[in-house]
Amino acid sequence: MIENVTTTMSAVAPAVAAGAANTSDVVIRIRNLHKRFGDLHVVKGVDLDVRRGERIAIIGASGSGKSTILRCLNFMELPSEGTIELDGKAIGRQASANGASGERFYSEAELCEIRARVGMVFQQFNLFPHMTVRANVMEGLITVKRIAKHAARERATAQLAKVGLQDKLDAYPAKLSGGQQQRVAIARALAMDPEVLLFDEPTSSLDPELVGEVLRVIRALADEGRTMLLVTHELGFAYHFADRVVFIADGIVHETGTADEVLKHPKRERTQQFLARFVERAL
């Protein structure tokens, strides 16, 4: 089953009139994204446009491919096929001259540059345990952005204050709670001043009582107008957070629309079933 749901507003509006304005607004454009792990076809042709300042929640069952889609956007996984554009520029170059196979070549230098512009926060935080909280946040500034140490220090301190961790600058990650660690990870990603921020189930490995503090920080970023994509199982949060909700099933975009449309009034049966299971669990 090949089924692509076009998710741009421009596709709905008259293409010629809306096209020009909307193109410049699009930060990330995904076209025909596929990802295979050996014989396993996980992502099966996804098209998605992310506009500047937009907040998108990606939902779906485990194994639907939603995390893989997100991980392709900063090339933690290399797409097997399809293109991803950042600010109108397609990343990588075609592997074969005639474009017969959809696979592309990516250089490490280009990918590192892209990853510095598209930040990511992981489910497992992935902090560096041998560095203090502040050193964790400074690391990318020093090694990737090549900012002078004292300037990096100031910036890291400011970012950590922003996520409420000004008291933990010199602590090591192991001494922090999960929620605090995740806030360090958010500060580390933010310090790079990324154009887009990706969250891959940022609260899934947290104790329930620590979820709130992390969601509050994400919420505050949303209010700043940051472009963010969030893969989550917290449907309640997704509802308040997202301009747009994308429901993924079987590696494709199954339904998309405003939070209200998808979460409250889903049109498609598959989406309804998925949401019904969540309601069951909540009761």
């Binding site: 933690m76 990318g140 990737v144």
Partner: protein, 221 residues
């Protein structure tokens, strides 16, 4: 059976033994330093995602770990020059063989250290735009050095003793001088006892310092 120990021969020839000690130390340090560097390079090939590099590294390590060092020493002194078309000095042949042998063990120690770092840390570094080389230098190695220290200490101790085999290629290190003196003066027991003590004095400070460093590093956690 009555045996009269007589260390006079050792005392009279001590300068000769000392000269041997300096060759031993030279051989030890050269082979260990180069073995570490080469071993690191091989471990990178070993953890590389390129299957060809991987296979090459595995083959290299297995050949050097699963054949006797003595054979390797002899091979590099007698067989390698035939292929090369130029004779190596005994010291160079011994240094070469011991370096390659040590590098195979070091490669495995490095590999063990590198793979002990959770994948998530590689991902965390990758996600802020760090290259693989940066991640290795800034994130992986600083953490694994501590874990690898005991293994490298063992390696260094082992190597110090193995340098004595170079005496068979007539490298004039301390074992060679000892054997020379033994066959000249027929006092092998006294001479070899002193040679053993020399190795002890040579090696022990290193393992003592390493154990202390290990405790200091552990205390920092």
């Amino acid at each position: 059976m009555k045996y009269t120990w007589d260390f006079a021969v050792v005392r009279d020839n001590f300068p000769l033994l000392l000269r041997g000690v300096s060759v031993t130390v030279e051989l030890w340090l050269v082979a260990f330093a180069l073995g570490l560097a080469l071993g690191f390079a091989i471990s990178l090939a070993r953890v590389s995602r390129r299957p060809s590099l991987n296979a090459l590294a595995i083959g290299y390590v297995e050949v050097f770990r699963n054949t006797p060092v003595l054979v390797q020493l002899i091979w590099f002194y007698y067989a390698f020059p035939i292929m090369l078309g130029a004779q190596l000095t005994p010291f160079v042949a011994a240094a070469l063989a011991l370096t390659l042998n040590t590098s195979a063990y070091c490669a495995e120690i490095f590999r063990g250290g590198i793979v002990s770092i959770a994948r998530g840390q590689w991902e965390g570094a990758k996600a802020i735009g760090m290259t693989r080389a940066m991640t290795m230098r800034r994130i992986v190695l600083p953490q694994v050095m501590k874990r690898m220290l005991p293994a490298f200490t063992n390696r260094a101790i082992e190597l110090a003793k193995v340098t004595s085999l170079a005496s068979l290629l007539a490298v004039n290190e301390v074992m060679y001088e000892g054997r020379l003196l033994s066959s000249t003066y027929y006092r092998p027991l006294e001479i070899l006892t002193v040679v053993a003590l020399i190795y002890l004095v040579l090696i022990y400070p290193g393992s003592y310092l390493s154990a202390r460093l290990e405790r200091r590093l552990a205390a920092r956690d």
